[in-house]
C-alpha cells in the first residue's frame, strides 16, 4: 500500500485534468456562437446577453476554465438550458435508472460470460466449444439496439411477459417489481459485453492451462475439477477482472443507445436528447461525470487486481 496507490491516484487526477480541458473546450469548438445556437433563433438579444453573462463567456478563456472547473469541483456543473435546472439535478434524475441498468447488466455478464467461458475452455476443440465461441463472436457483432427491438417485439409486444418501455422508480408504486422494466434492456445491453467476457475467460483459461504450474498441480494427483477451479480459474480471473474497467466503458456507450430504444429515463437518453436540443451544459456535465466514473472504476479494478495478485506490490 502507499506509494503505488498515491501514484495511481495522481495519474488518474492528471488524466481527469486533461479530460476536463477537452470537455471544457468542447463548447468553444462548436462553430458559431454557442449561446445563439443554444437559445435558437427566437431568442431576444437580452436573453442572449443574459446567458453570455451567466456562462461568463465574456471573460478570458482561462478564467472561464478556472471558474468552470472550480464550480465543477464544488459540485456545480452549470444549469441546463432546456430544463432550466442545475445539470447535477438532471444527472441525478437519470442516475437511478442508469445505475440499476448497469448493475443488472453486470450481473448478467458475470453470470453468463464467466461460466460459459469456462465451459468452452474445458471443452476446448469440441463442438460445444466451437458453438459457444461462434455464438460469442456473433453476439459481439450484433448492434444492441437491434437486439433490443426484437426483444421488445417478441417478449413485450408478442408474448406480453415484460413491459416494453419506460421505467418507474423502485421508490414509487410497484417497488422492486419495477425492476422487470430493466430486464429486457439489461439483456440487450449484456449480450455483446458478456460475449467479450466469455471469449476473454476462455482465452485466458487456455493460456493459463498451458502454464507449468498447472502441470505441477495435476502431478499432485488432485481432481481435475480442482485443478480447473483452484489453479487455472484463479489465475485466469486476474485477466478477466482487469477487463472490467473496459467493459464498464463499453456499457456506458451502449447504454446511450439501449436507453433510447427502451425509452428509459436514464442519463444516456438524456445525453442524446440534450444533443438534439443543443443543451450543451448537460452534455458537458454528463461527459465529465462519466469520465470521472470511468477513472474511479478503473482505479478500483486496478487496485483489486493488485490485491488478487500477490506478485504485485501495492
Amino acid at each position: 500500500m502507499g506509494r503505488y496507490v498515491i501514484g495511481r491516484i495522481g495519474a488518474a487526477a492528471a488524466t481527469l485534468f486533461a479530460a476536463s480541458i477537452v470537455i471544457f473546450s468542447f463548447i468553444h469548438l462548436i462553430p458559431g456562437d454557442p449561446v445563439s445556437v443554444m437559445l435558437g433563433d427566437a431568442a431576444t438579444p437580452e436573453q442572449v446577453a443574459a446567458l453570455r453573462e451567466r456562462m461568463g463567456l465574456d471573460e478570458p478563456i482561462w478564467v472561464q476554465y478556472l471558474v468552470w472547473a472550480g464550480n465543477a469541483l464544488q459540485g456545480d456543473l452549470g444549469r441546463s438550458i432546456f430544463f432550466e435546472t442545475p445539470v447535477t439535478q438532471v444527472i441525478a434524475d437519470g442516475a437511478e435508472t442508469s445505475i440499476l441498468l448497469a448493475l443488472i447488466t453486470m450481473i448478467w455478464i458475470v453470470l453468463f460470460g464467466i461460466p460459459v467461458g469456462i465451459l468452452a475452455a474445458i471443452r476446448q476443440g469440441t463442438w460445444i466449444d466451437q458453438g459457444l465461441s461462434g455464438l460469442a463472436m456473433l453476439l459481439a457483432s450484433v448492434p444492441t439496439f437491434w437486439v433490443g427491438l426484437y426483444l421488445i417485439l417478441i417478449f413485450a409486444a408478442g408474448l406480453g411477459w415484460f413491459p416494453s418501455s419506460g421505467y418507474p422508480s423502485i421508490f414509487e408504486g410497484g417497488g422492486l417489481a419495477n425492476l422487470q422494466y430493466l430486464l429486457l434492456p439489461s439483456i440487450a445491453l449484456a449480450a455483446p459485453n458478456a460475449a467479450l467476457i466469455l471469449r476473454l475467460t476462455r482465452a485466458s483459461m487456455l493460456d493459463v492451462s498451458r502454464e507449468d504450474f498447472v502441470r505441477t498441480a495435476r502431478a499432485k494427483g488432485i481432481r481435475p475439477s480442482r485443478v480447473v477451479l483452484r489453479h487455472i480459474l484463479r489465475n485466469a480471473l486476474l485477466a478477466v477482472v482487469s477487463a472490467f474497467g473496459f467493459t464498464f466503458a463499453a456499457l456506458i456507450s451502449e447504454a446511450v443507445v439501449t436507453e433510447t430504444v427502451f425509452a428509459l429515463p436514464g442519463i444516456g437518453r438524456t445525453v442524446v436528447q440534450s444533443i438534439l436540443r443543443r443543451d450543451y451544459p448537460v452534455i458537458q456535465g454528463v461527459i465529465l461525470v462519466t469520465v470521472c466514473l470511468y477513472l474511479v472504476i478503473n482505479l478500483l479494478v486496478d487496485l483489486s487486481y493488485r490485491l488478487l495478485d500477490p506478485r504485485v506490490e501495492l
Binding site: L29, G125, S133, L138, F145, L149, L206, V257, I275, L295
Partner: protein
C-alpha cells in the same frame, strides 16, 4: 520440445466458417460496387400504394413505409458500409500508426502522445463520437472522423506496443548500434513486422465501425436520412416493427453478418500471426 506440438492443438475458427465469412464479404463488396445492376429498384423510389408489403417475388425483402423496396435499399446500404469501413480504417491507421511509431522511437514524445491517447480512452467511446459530431455537425465524413477517433486510440496503443517490442529486439538493437538510421530501422524492421498485427486490427476496426455507424444512424446523428444506410433503415422503420417485423430483419442481419464475418476474418488472421504480438491484440 513441446513447442511444436501446440501447432496441432491451437484452436482455430473452423475452416468452413471462415470460408462462409469470406464469401459473405465478397457478396457485400459486390453489392457495394454493382448496386445499380443488382438492385431491382432505385433505392429511393417511393410507391405509396405498395407500403409495408411482406416479402414476395417482386419485393424480396418487402417494402418500407414509403413503399420503397427494402432489398434494393439493403443492396445500396452496402455502399455506405464499405465507405464507413474503409474510411474509419484508413483514418485509424493513418493517424494511429505514426503516433504509435513516433512514441516508441522517441520516449519523451511518446510519454506525451500516449498520455493524450489515455485521455481520449477515458471517454466512453460513443460519447466521444457524439461529442465530435456535435462539434463537426452531422454527415458521413464526420461520422467517419468521429468513429475513427475511437479507433485511433486503440490502433496507436497496439502500434506503440509492437514497435516498442521490436525496437528492443536484439537484431534491431544491433542494427542501431551499427549506425542504422531511424528511418531505415522503421522501414526495414518495424513496418514489415507491423503488417500482420495491423491487418488483424484493421479487420476488427472495420467490424466495429459498422456497429458504431449503425448506432449513430439509429440515434439520428449519423448519415443523413436520405442516404440508404442499414442503420438509417432500422431507425426509420423501427416504429413499424409490430406491423412489419421483417423490415428490420434484413438491414439488421446485414450489419450483423458483415461485422461477424469481419470478426471471423480477424480471428483467423490473429491465429496465424506471430505469437509474440498475439497477446497484444486482445482475446
Amino acid at each position: 520440445m513441446l513447442g511444436y506440438l501446440r501447432v496441432w492443438t491451437r484452436p482455430v475458427v473452423s475452416r468452413p466458417l471462415a470460408a462462409l465469412a469470406g464469401l459473405f464479404l465478397i457478396v457485400v463488396l459486390c453489392c457495394a460496387l454493382f448496386a445499380p445492376w443488382i438492385a431491382p429498384y432505385p433505392p429511393d423510389q417511393i410507391d405509396p400504394v405498395n407500403r409495408l408489403l411482406p416479402p414476395d417475388a417482386a419485393h424480396l425483402f418487402g417494402t418500407d413505409h414509403y413503399g420503397r423496396d427494402t432489398f434494393s435499399r439493403a443492396v445500396y446500404g452496402a455502399r455506405l458500409a464499405l465507405l464507413i469501413g474503409v474510411g474509419v480504417v484508413s483514418f485509424a491507421l493513418a493517424s494511429g500508426v505514426p503516433i504509435g511509431i513516433l512514441s516508441a522511437l522517441y520516449p519523451m514524445l511518446g510519454r506525451v502522445l500516449m498520455r493524450m491517447v489515455d485521455v481520449l480512452m477515458s471517454f466512453p467511446s460513443l460519447l466521444l463520437a457524439l461529442g465530435l459530431i456535435v462539434i463537426l455537425g452531422q454527415g458521413v465524413l464526420n461520422a467517419i472522423l468521429a468513429i475513427g477517433l475511437i479507433y485511433l486510440t486503440t490502433t496507436a496503443r497496439i502500434v506503440y506496443g509492437v514497435a516498442l517490442r521490436l525496437r528492443s529486439e536484439p537484431y534491431v538493437e544491433a542494427a542501431r548500434s551499427m549506425g542504422a538510421g531511424t528511418l531505415w530501422i522503421v522501414r526495414r524492421h518495424i513496418l514489415p513486422n507491423m503488417v500482420s498485427p495491423l491487418l488483424v486490427q484493421a479487420s476488427f476496426v472495420f467490424a466495429f465501425a459498422q456497429l458504431g455507424a449503425a448506432a449513430l444512424d439509429f440515434l439520428g446523428l449519423g448519415a443523413p436520412p436520405e442516404i440508404p444506410s442499414w442503420g438509417n433503415m432500422l431507425a426509420e422503420e423501427r416504429i413499424y416493427i409490430t406491423r412489419a417485423s421483417w423490415l428490420l430483419l434484413w438491414p439488421g442481419l446485414m450489419i450483423v453478418l458483415t461485422a461477424f464475418s469481419l470478426n471471423v476474418m480477424g480471428d483467423v488472421l490473429r491465429d496465424r500471426m506471430d505469437p509474440r504480438f498475439r497477446e497484444m491484440m486482445g482475446k
